[in-house]
Symmetry: C2
Subunit: 725 residues, 2 copies
């Protein structure tokens, strides 16, 4: 797209414009006819949302459409509508945009498919269409999208079914797959999860998912943000938005497609966009304190917990149930999520003891047993309710998980309904005033019925959809809370995609110089060109030593016999020198710079630390333990650059073999601060190479207590112009 | 319990008796009053199940209970009922059993708690109560249970709510947590999953979960079995039943509590039973081809797939959807479950191509796009339906996953309802007659509404609850199908729990003899008592060698300096001999038998193979790679003994480091047959020690290509009486 168009578009996708766009008070549906399913969906959605403004069908041939008077063209509108939903086929869209421009319409949704997803010709058509819109000063959502809805603004230019009633709530949603919108709304509806704004993104020709993300961060009605993403197209902006969301206390929950190579291929087929390596995506999201989930159920349940419940200050959970089996399930899931279930305080035990049958015992997790269910009561309240109140006052807990409220699927008789309503009101009051958060959860993921919603509304209670999803959501929420502040200063390089293929390897000497210059401790070494010099160097450095043939053309020295480890005597050094130089000379086309002599390092641990360039996210740092850890287990931790030492220490902690760094198996514990510092400097060295970097690898990076040294360095850049003298 | 009682009980818990028990035609509820919630639940459950036989309240003080004429005692019955549901408190149960005996009642459910779960006094009371029942020839379910229901027999002496209508189907269920029964039924109801018999087990004083398992295996109405277990009390019987179920083609799906130490503690608190180490439980279930799940949703969804859908013959999946997002999610989940999504055959592509819009492409997974939704049709059928028919005829697929049928939550207008009914009927017919199974799945885990159930019934279609649960269920089902036949001949030792503490270690010489005698290759070795003899032995065996001090009292020789690795010369052997004997002599109370000289083994890989005794499951074989693999990663594979070589090869394949055995990192690939054979023999050696075994460990078990040798052996038995000369 020419720069002028891009500039123009920037003026059309401002926060102010999006605020207007997503709260229209009048809507035109262009191409609406009685036989158009899309138009029917929009009319039904507006009704479900309680839209009270004008909804005007526009069609050249129909006088009325679904009972409403139609106009022939947008030009015939008495006054401009806030949003035009354009359902015309791709070929007719530009002319409709002309009409819209002439009519003073400033916001349009384009439904038509047949643009970028068709490849090059479609991409050109899309750019033409967007340029036309921009020329008219029209902001466009789509094309190839299904519109949006805003429950708080009661507006829904949305071409899919909305299960009525549309519940307004704290969850803002942007979806890169339009068809999933109705699936998301159905699940949200089934679990009484209220939505603020939901937008389907389509091809994102003008408004991108990150724009909607930024809008949702600013939107007062939105407390938590759900994204379904097939790609993260502008990682730098996404990172800035994520940091802003973190600061604003608005968690972002992402369902990112393409976790598997097969999934990536599928996503590619649908969007034409190349998704980055999923392990990098995972690292980026973790770095940005964005919650990543793997199902729609998990997406919405996590958002519901963070959007409706008060946030726990820690991991100490009280559990109040009326079922031993539920206690079992919760205890197992809690262990998996790292949630603690400490003993109740003595005063809690004393308060609960009289509430439960003599054969039951007061412990956390608590099973008050089902016996209270079986006896007619004078009060609406039951043992489980009073037990909840007692547990919520326990000074040793951070929150209480409560499964004691079971909602019937159908409305019971009036007496029972009155009892339940009274109970819900009492519980709601207690939950609201409890010293610690109370998280209410159903046993399984069954729908909240219409009647169930009424009951919950009586107490302003939200109930999570099942122990399994609820505990998963809780784990996400606790990690998010603990990591707040972490994305601060995370700047993701991004920029245009660069090919990581090809490139020129540096000589080892130049590579060692670059690292040393960046402050990475590098093992001492002398480049020699004779056996005598090798012996002299070995004596200066201290035997035993390591000899390596040096040549920019030989990147895998060991494979060709170019490395000699451990010569201990003058004789052995001479033999080793002869061996490695001969090996180097045997490589066709290799210019041998000499032989590098270094002291041999024994004991300690060997790590691998390297930087590669991801086509989407830029330079990515990988850290792992050497040997089987990387080669067999693929046990590495990733981050996009830049990183700071605290983040690198987190990376080291994520390794499956991290116990080794802490001194497992009798070795000296590694000085993690020194190690993290060295790895950070290594990242700086890579960053200094900027766009020229292809790969930088230190293998091994040796650590023994507080001694850290790069023993072997490989640098590859686009060309060798950056290589030092 | 005295042997005579146990014998008597065996005659009361036969398959015939259970068949009668679980299909009662008349039920008495003893202790029923209008204020008893339990009795009300039973009456409502019977109504929901369509029970048409007599349901007779029994109460000394009431003439009528919930509108039915009551009798004062079971003795007043005109003729014996098939089942008496005894709701009397624990103290009164025995006298009610006397009444039942006198009245000729042969089956009783005991609701009362306050027995074994209270500890020793309760345990005695329970035994007394059961002995009384046995003396009267009465079979008892419980105590501390909530009864059962049998949907096919339309009987429900079941003291919890049943969401009506109770749907009869293929899923048999036994639960060791009674309170979960209503949770299980609610989820089953929400997903139109029909139940055959559901039983709550309570304390299993007479009828155990394994008895119900055996009943369900024989029950013609049951096609798949769900168990919620807090413990597996008789593993040997459970193993036999699992093998029978596997042979009968009735999958068993288990939700076993106590996966975490916290969860085990909770389960213990509820049942008073000690659960075995969860890793062993996991191994046992895998060995028995029992599917293990972690949530109720997963339990029932897996059962529904196996109970309703035709079983796929392989892992090649076709996917037909109307949503790109659904394709993304399915592809990612399929990769995680190891399900393949191959290309469609050319004839399939040709058949589907005309069905979809020009901007869409025919690929597997298929997105027909939502466009067909938007246009009024003359036929009830849509593109997705015809695409399904085409995919189900693809010769390169084993089954098709179909998300194209979306059920509305509420009944639509008559026209739409008629269209949907016609579509469902057509789809049902196609699915039934398709060459390969078609598995229908909803997008998320939302309830199937009453109207939705009607639609599904029209086509006899079952729909799985969401892509996420559906794919999890599919993964389980495929693994189950692939492993059929595997439990054959699995005999789990079980028997009474044995303390694994204490015991006497053997001398290394005796331990080596036992292994060698069982056919395990053991590294050559000579026990010597002088430096001269050590040198001579070293020369015979070949230098370098390993010297180890031998003493039954020294089990960790390396820790005290009792091992010398690698002496290469006579001099070094002498020095090593002096060193290790001195180290041995330094251990107070140790009787040194001598020094074992063995050739040193270099290269190859070191494994650990050992047998310990689980208190529940008996001897358990553990196999792992040595070094960090076991020490840092805890990477071992477990099986209960006996094992056969094929199973040991599976164990080796389960190791995270198994690539090393296949020759990763340049080493010689291990001869897996030779290795598995040696490990099997090691298991035989352990089994030969029978009840006396405490531990047998070979560490390291060395393998280099086809050379396999036990380098170091430790055996501990209850006492040393089994130790050879």
């Amino acid at each position: 797209m020419p720069a002028t168009d891009a500039d123009l578009i920037r003026t059309l996708v401002t926060p102010e414009r999006l605020r207007e766009f997503f709260a229209p008070r009048s809507i035109a549906v262009v191409g609406a006819s009685d036989t158009s399913g899309w138009a029917r969906f929009v009319a039904a959605s507006c009704q479900a949302a309680g839209f009270s403004g004008p909804l005007i069908p526009v069609h050249p041939a129909h006088r009325t459409v679904f009972g409403r008077p139609a106009v022939a063209s947008l030009r015939d509108l008495a006054e401009p509508v806030d949003v035009a939903f354009i359902m015309a086929p791709a070929g007719a869209v530009e002319s409709v945009l002309d009409d819209a421009g002439a009519a003073g319409v400033r916001h349009a949704i384009v439904l038509a498919a047949g643009y970028r997803e068709l490849g090059e010709p479609g991409r050109a058509a899309e750019q033409r269409m967007i340029a036309r819109a921009a020329a008219h000063g029209i902001t466009v959502l789509g094309p190839n999208c299904l519109g949006f809805l805003n429950a708080h603004a009661a507006a829904a230019p949305f071409a899919l079914t909305v299960p009525p009633p549309l519940l307004a709530g704290p969850v803002g949603i942007a979806l890169q797959s339009g068809a999933l919108a109705s699936v998301v709304l159905a699940f949200a509806h089934a679990h009484a999860i209220g939505v603020s704004t939901l937008a389907t993104m389509g091809n994102e020709a003008m408004i991108a998912a990150t724009d909607v993300l930024e809008y949702l961060i600013e939107d007062d009605a939105t407390g938590v943000i759900c994204l379904f993403l097939e790609q993260i197209s502008d990682p730098a902006r996404f990172a800035r938005a994520a940091e802003r969301a973190d600061r604003a206390g608005k968690p972002i929950v992402v369902l990112k497609a393409g976790a598997s190579p097969a999934g990536r291929e599928v996503a590619l087929a649908h969007t034409g966009a190349v998704a980055g390596d999923d392990a990098v995506v995972d690292a980026v999201l973790r770095q940005l304190n964005v919650i990543r989930v793997t199902s729609i159920e998990e997406l919405l349940s996590t958002a519901a917990l963070l959007g409706y419940d008060r946030w726990p200050a820690g991991r100490r959970m009280g559990v109040v149930t009326a079922s031993g089996g539920a206690c079992d399930l919760i205890a197992d899931r809690a262990a998996a999520e790292g949630v603690e279930i400490p003993e109740f305080a003595p005063e809690t035990v004393a308060a609960i003891d009289p509430l439960i049958p003599p054969f039951a015992s007061v412990r956390n997790p608590l099973d008050v047993t089902g016996y209270f269910l079986a006896n007619r009561r004078t009060s609406a309240l039951t043992a489980v309710d009073h037990a909840l109140a007692a547990a919520a006052a326990d000074p040793g807990l951070d929150f209480v998980l409560f499964t004691g409220l079971t909602l019937p699927q159908a409305r019971p008789d009036e007496t029972a309904a009155a009892v339940l309503a009274e109970r819900a009101a009492w519980l709601g009051e207690r939950i609201a005033s409890a010293p610690i958060p109370v998280i209410s959860v159903a046993h399984t993921c069954v729908d909240v019925s219409e009647y169930g919603r009424e009951v919950l509304d009586r107490g302003s209670i939200h109930m999570l959809g099942g122990i399994d999803l609820g505990m998963t959501a809780l784990g996400h929420a606790l990690r998010w809370l603990e990591n707040r502040g972490r994305p601060q200063g995370t700047v993701i390089g991004g920029g245009p995609a660069r090919s990581a293929a090809g490139g020129a390897p540096w000589s080892e000497a130049a590579a060692r110089d670059l690292l040393a210059g960046s402050g990475v401790p590098v093992v001492p070494g002398e480049l020699v060109n004779s056996a005598d010099a090798a012996v002299a160097a070995a004596q200066r450095l201290g035997l035993p030593v390591v000899l390596k043939v040096c040549s920019a053309q030989i990147t895998h020295k060991s494979d060709i016999g170019g490395v000699a480890v451990g010569p201990r005597t003058e004789e052995e050094v001479r033999a080793a020198y002869a061996r490695v130089t001969a090996a180097g000379r045997g490589v066709p086309g290799a210019r041998v710079d000499g032989v590098l002599v270094s002291p041999m390092r024994a004991g300690g641990l060997e790590l691998i630390a390297g930087v590669t360039v991801d086509p989407t996210f830029g330079p990515v740092l990988a850290v792992g333990l050497g040997g089987v850890w990387v080669e067999v287990l693929g046990d590495t931790s990733l981050r996009v650059l830049p990183v700071y030492p605290g983040e690198v220490k987190r990376m080291l902690g994520e390794l499956r073999g991290s116990a080794l760094l802490r001194g497992a198996r009798g070795s000296r514990p590694a000085d993690l601060d020194a190690l993290a510092e060295a790895i950070c400097r290594l990242g700086d060295a890579a960053a200094a190479l900027d766009g020229s970097l292809r790969a930088l690898e230190v293998n091994p990076l040796w650590v023994d207590g507080d001694q850290v040294e790069a023993l072997d360095v490989l640098i590859v850049t686009a060309d060798r112009s950056k290589e030092g003298p």
